[in-house]
Amino acid sequence: MNIDYTKNPLTVTSAPHLKNPERTSTIMLDVIVALLPATVWGVYVFGWRALAIVLASALSAVLSEALFCYFMNQPITVKDGSAAVTGLILALCLPVSVPLWIPVIGSVFAIIVVKQLFGGLGKNVVNPAIAARVFLFLAWPAQMSYYTVPGASLPVLANVDRVDAFASATPLGALKNGKLFEIGLYDTVLGKVGGCIGEVSAMLLALGGLYLLIRKTIKWHIPVAYIATVALIALIFPQAEPTWRYVAYHVFGGGLMLGAIFMATDYVTSPITKWGRIIYGIGCGVITMVIRCLGQYPEGVSFAIMIMNLLVWYFDMYTRPSKFGGVEKKK
């Protein structure tokens, strides 16, 4: 048996010679699939304008990454899907009434400033979508906190006049004023309330989270620790009666579900160890509730996650698994 090695040289690599077919783009696709129900619901509740915002955000995220890589003479990395995920998540935490240039600016900021300037995928310190949301919120607070009622007929592309006719209260906005939301819990969980495009349906977000858990894309530690901490703090310090409804609005009413399941679990900016993840989730919960209950803003999920993102290195280092065999034997 003769083989022409010059034509068909054998490949020599270091072991292992097997590889799991799952790759970064598979994971990103999983996240997009998990977000689809909530996205479709957002479009159903808020109309085609919601879709326009999602597309504007996702496309500008992908495009800005492609252009950045092109002009920086780097390999173009949009195929891994992470830019699309960033754009989608950013769109989902915007109110439907924002002008269409807001998601575009947000995506460009997220991808170029927060992600690419730090070295691209895997090197960013904070979650790009969250940083962009915080940036937009601080730069254009009026646009970013004007929520419309579900089903309001808004123009698909043109700017929305911020008139009172369509303005809607949000569950957390009501809690901020010390009273429970007038819309029932059932509609809140389902998502028939005012709020951000993708945040309103707690139920569909939880469904997406379940999908990610089954696919083993995320582990339960961060979402459970985060949501449980928020619920526990609301339970101990209720500011409205009855307590269980107060707790429920805190859990289902704001951005907690989207934040805990999809943003806080972002691999790049969350801890790598089991206990690190649990502590990180608890930290997110505490900061969220401090901002919601004591701070000026009704919502604190994005601030909380961003602050905790900065501490991930410490969680990783201080929750290092003890190596197999424990301590060295004394010589």
Partner: protein, 462 residues
Amino acid sequence: MKLSFKGGIHPPQSKNTANCAVEKMPPPKKVFIPLSQHIGGACVPLVKKGDIVDKGQIIGNVEGGLGCPVHASVSGVVESIEVKTSASGVKIGQIVIENDFEERLSVDVKPIEKSFESLTLDDVIEITKNAGIVGLGGATFPAHAKLASGAGKIDHLIINCAECEPYITVNHRLLLEQPERVLRGLKILLKVFGLTKGYIAIEDNKKDAIKKLKEKTTGTDFVDVCIMKTKYPQGDERQIIYALTGKELTSGHLPFEVGCLILNAETVAAIYDAVVYGMPLIERFVTVDGDCVKEPKNLSVRIGTPINELIEYCGGLTKDPYKIICGGPMMGVAQWKMYAPTVKGTSAVLVFSNQNRTRQSDAPSCIHCGRCVGHCPMRLMPNYLVAFANAGELDKCKEFDILGCVECGCCSYDCPADVPIVQTIRAAKGKILEQMRAQKAALNKSAVAAKPEKEDKGGKES
């Protein structure tokens, strides 16, 4: 409940040859016997060009230190002694023997004269050493040294048939076809160690072998068949010890330090052959598989047979080979040519076409998903080890226990970002070990130079 460990992965098992009975491959025209087929120093040839050698004759032996002899696997004439690249990729001398097909047995191959009752551990150690038996699972640690280290210290004698690497089925077939060799070998070892019970660790994917073993051992109580969960790397001795005894073996320590002795099933069978028939290790079982091989088979092969003859015996290739691996796909060594000889540690020869190409990335970027940390059976943080190694921070690597890595490759297998994790760690480990040797050498030198008047004590300080 099935025994197991924390971490690990589930690669596709691909045990295509599980139902292929072991075929005795006829001895080849020429055998190539490398002078180092074990961990330890290389052997010095005891024969020269033109010598006539017999089957089973010792043709190379170590001069002190760790190691064991190599034997002629056929009778014939020594054609040459040359330096060649071996299956594990190092340059090593090898003795080429032209087979005369007379199958003349060496006079040294004779059954033991002592009775079973009067056999001692020292006898078995001596026999094992002279028979050139090494760990046949692939690690090739000289078996006599392992037996000697365990003298008087062990309470668990464990036979490893986990066979967690995909594709390989030689241990499975051994237990199914020749369980007596393993069980009788175990009996001998139990007797000389003064133990009453041994353990056979086997993964639950070998149901028929488990059944066979249970049949063979009904009514006796000298063996406990321990069924383990099918998971890679279940066959790592640390993981087996953990699964069986709950004890964790620190890196740099040997099993006897926690009272365990682990031997591969085929090693035990080889010890049995050596003790009872005086037959040295000149033949072993090899799985030949992979999508390029026409008829995947399990073969009983003379040591020193070139791997291309194994492939040819299995009907040759059906496609252009992309990669040829000696050993399992998780830890085996990729070959650059097909002429490497089968050595004592070759448990499989796998030929893959480029359909089995593993993904590689030019610019991998870790996404910090934590899979490598979750899968690492040694509970390390492979992603950080790679980051430190790439930054050249070898001290930081040491601080994060890089030397505790057993190189099982779970991290690289499951990395979605295609970071060459275990490969980077392997390279960094090499650098660190080199550095440590250099430091030690420099220390010895300076200790001698600084105190010339106390030269006689120099040895103590090193």
